[in-house]
Amino acid sequence: MKIHLPNSAFLGNIDPFLRDFDASHPGTLEITSNKKWISIHPAVLSMVAALGLTIEPSNIKCEKFEATSKHYLERMGLFKFLRMKSGIEITEHDPAGRFIPLTQIKDSVGLTKFITDMIPLLHVEPKQAEPIRYVVSELARNVLEHSLSEHGAILSAQYYIKSNTIRIGIADTGVGIRKTINQSYNAKDDMDAIRLALMPGITGTTKREGGTELNAGAGLFFTKSIANVNRDYFMIYSGKGMYKLLKHKPTAKYTPLHADPFDDRHSKGMDFPFWQGTVVGIDISLNTTKEFSMLLDFIRDTYAKAVRERKKAKYRKAKFT
């Protein structure tokens, strides 16, 4: 496999980075980078770290980074995940208020501890912390419950002062969304599976409305809704499919949520290099963080309507002759 860390890769312009990923020869990993500057979303870092965990260190080839911003990769813990020495010397700073370095979460207890420890590091107000810990909990639990990855969830986050935004990335190298969804549905391709996974009340664990005792199929819908209401980016990539919720104009008085992600302003593609597993990236702008409770009102309406409509679609029709 080959992966190149470009000059810039954030959710808005991440497509070229993803398309450049070479998934062939999964037993080796070659990492290259832009020579001058590397400015990347935590989802990109999480992807590289997740790939690194699947490869023997002797089969990882990482060129010497020359970019001025190379220290960032060391500080985020990338080379620990690649199990190699970077040769980059840094002065460790207290990460409070700035970033959450790459972290591997392998079980439920570890996740609870991570969420407890994480929020103080970000130094955000309680109302801003609410969607952040919600998103991290739902996304990481999805990985732990559905990905079947022996390496668990690889997560990182960064606060960006200029945009006053928290950016979060989580990657796994598990079975991918299509395999999970197709335990109960028949998604014809990766994009179809992503679409189903983003709908409220759809879970791979059962076709029954209301889900199972432990799974309702709502975690990704809630996460996308948090981004949508706040007019932030959200990206999900699995197999050859990539769906990206795009920003929308702030003029609308309120944001109606959609049960079908294809009804949201989005871009998508189903011809990306194959990612074995799932990657999710989300931006949470702290300037526009709407009251979480207001978001829940939107979700309640949209969710119940989606369940009603699915039930109605199964009704038998009267025959008129």
Binding site: E130, R133, E138, L296, K311
Partner: protein, 96 residues
């Protein structure tokens, strides 16, 4: 009547579904089977995820019917937690 103080077992952010399931299996179901009323006390809980609330009560609504809600009081819920409980209660009843 049993009074379950959730904060003691799940902390201020109720998100661990495994703990929710344990509470349901070990405390809620036995109480309901004995015909006891339940107080689920959310005092000191800042927030809960939908996944946690689903793991805590969805199977009760499915197995005992929506009437089970007459037996359960949700106490000391803040606005956010109330709304998440309402989302789960709504979609479980819509699903029946």
């Amino acid at each position: 009547m049993i009074h379950i103080k959730l904060f003691e077992s799940v902390g201020s952010f109720a998100e661990n579904k495994d703990l929710a399931r344990d509470i349901r299996m070990k405390r809620l179901i036995p109480a309901l089977d004995k015909g006891e009323a339940i107080i689920l006390d959310f005092k000191n809980i800042d927030s809960a995820t939908q996944s946690f609330i689903h793991a805590l009560i969805s199977d009760l609504i499915r197995n005992y019917g929506a009437e089970v809600l007459d037996k359960i009081s949700f106490k000391n819920c803040n606005e956010t937690t109330q709304k998440i409980i309402n989302i789960v209660v709504d979609y479980m009843q819509e699903s029946e």
